[in-house]
């Protein structure tokens, strides 16, 4: 019912390599990357990436969009916290999408942001499956 995160390799603790599966209409929240490098490659379909500025410390207004683009099959993207925040979405109503993500160092929690207010909220990230086995929790 929402996009799934499927861990493929944990690189001896140095990185997390995972495959994300996005059904039609699925999107992520606006999130940061907990001081890690994040590489993304589209394996199937298309994903829209919208970049946002970090909200002001005391900000209480709508977050401001920096840019947006549609990433096609085989295209790559990179982000880290100094670049900004982003939302990734499969905006297709007919095709699912699959992306490959590399995070280094690995992290299991990040902040999600409310686009209307800039308020952030820490969330734990979970895996739908790891190394081909379904993760139940």
């Amino acid at each position: 019912f929402r996009y799934t995160r499927n861990l493929v390799d944990n690189g001896n603790g140095k990185f997390n390599l995972m495959i994300l599966c996005w059904a039609e209409g699925h999107g992520s929240s606006i999130h940061d990357h907990t001081d890690s490098h994040c590489f993304m490659k589209i394996l199937q379909g298309n994903l829209k990436e919208t970049l946002f500025e970090w909200p002001e410390k005391k900000g209480n207004g709508e977050m401001s969009k920096k840019s947006e683009r549609v990433l096609r099959e085989n295209q790559c993207a990179y982000i880290n916290d100094s670049i900004g925040l982003h939302r990734v979405e499969n905006i297709s109503h007919t095709e699912s999408a699959v992306s490959l993500h590399l995070y280094s160092p690995p992290f299991d929690s990040c902040n999600t942001f409310d686009q209307r207010t800039g308020h952030k909220h820490k969330v734990k990230m979970t895996f739908y499956s790891q190394f081909g086995e379904r993760t139940l929790c």
Binding site: F1, R2, G25, G27, S92, D114
Partner: protein, 313 residues
């Protein structure tokens, strides 16, 4: 599609004719008694006769479980498919639908309904009569309000409403205790207290009725004209749990902000017996401080906390 399809492949279970430019799915499909999945995305379906007549009664009509018609040109939900009583999954995403027919409730077995990416402006309350619906996708439409009856979808686990024209939600949405995912981003949800300006002050009859009810003034049918006895029996209780008031015709719609799992404030619409009502309204006080900006713990907040992953993002 070739006319001999059901004779050559009588055991066919899955058929994918997506992206083939088909303008109609013909009668050659009707005699496939084992076909449970039919994918016809990204074609030119949508005109009259896109689906074969008699679909509901045919062997195909009984076997079909999954039907994907996304990325076509349907301007209305084709009536032919409303007879598919065994259908579990229906997608009409990315078409040209302007509405949802009330007869959608005929799809008794439906669990998954994808209607994202159309031009739908409103949702019929009959949608709530689908007993097995667990995933409802209505994102990227032009929906302005959600009927409170949708709270009757007890099996609903995922509700996608992002990118619509919603300014508030009905309070009843908190009754969906099994809801695990709710997406609301990209809606012009009101962020400040909004008072309905069309509140009509109560009539003298209403004020008298309220007094009789709240003070338990005794009366018998012989004391009053029959029409007033009838009127008094129609009193509604003010939904504010802290208020013992009643109302008849005159109520105020109010937006109340509810904290969702301590994360986001959602504007929910509910009815109160008067604009001053949010705390016990036995005292007709003049103070009309903005009640909803600082919501304290109440039933609504408790109910909201029961809902889990809210993807307001």
């Amino acid at each position: 599609l070739p006319a001999g399809l059901s004779q050559w492949f009588p055991a066919l279970e899955v058929l994918d004719v997506s992206g083939t430019g088909l303008a109609e799915l013909g009668a050659e499909l009707l005699a496939l008694p084992h076909l449970h999945t039919l994918l016809a995305k990204n074609n030119r379906l949508g005109g009259p006769g896109s689906l074969p007549k008699g679909l509901g009664e045919a062997p195909l009509g009984r076997s079909l479980r999954v039907l994907n018609l996304s990325g076509n040109r349907f301007a209305e939900v084709p009536p032919a498919l409303l007879g598919l009583r065994g259908l579990q999954s229906l997608s009409l995403g990315g078409n040209r639908l302007h509405g949802i027919p009330p007869d959608i409730q005929e799809l008794r077995s439906l669990e998954f309904l994808y209607l994202g990416g159309n031009f739908i402006t409103s949702i019929p309350p009959e949608l709530a009569n689908l007993p097995s619906l667990s995933c409802l996708v209505l994102c990227d439409n032009k929906i302005q309000s959600i009927p409170p009856q949708l709270a009757q979808l007890h099996s609903l686990r995922s509700l996608s409403l992002h990118n619509n024209l919603l300014t508030y939600l009905p309070r009843e949405i908190l009754n969906l205790v099994h809801l695990e995912e709710l997406s609301l981003r990209g809606n012009p949800l009101v962020v400040r207290f909004v008072r309905d300006l069309t509140y009509n002050p109560p009539s003298l009859q209403e004020l008298a009725g309220r007094t009789i009810k709240t003070r338990n003034v005794p009366y018998a049918p012989s004391d009053l004209p029959e029409n007033l006895v009838q009127y008094l029996s129609l009193a509604s209780n003010c939904p504010n749990p802290k208020c013992g008031g009643v109302y008849f015709d005159s109520c105020v719609r109010q937006i109340k902000f509810v904290d969702f799992c301590g994360k986001y404030r959602l504007p929910l619409m509910h009815y109160l017996c008067s604009p001053e009502c949010s705390s016990p309204c036995s005292s007709a006080s003049q103070s009309s401080t903005s009640q909803s900006e600082s919501d304290s713990e109440d039933e609504a907040s408790v109910a909201a906390r029961r809902m889990q992953k809210v993807l307001l993002g």
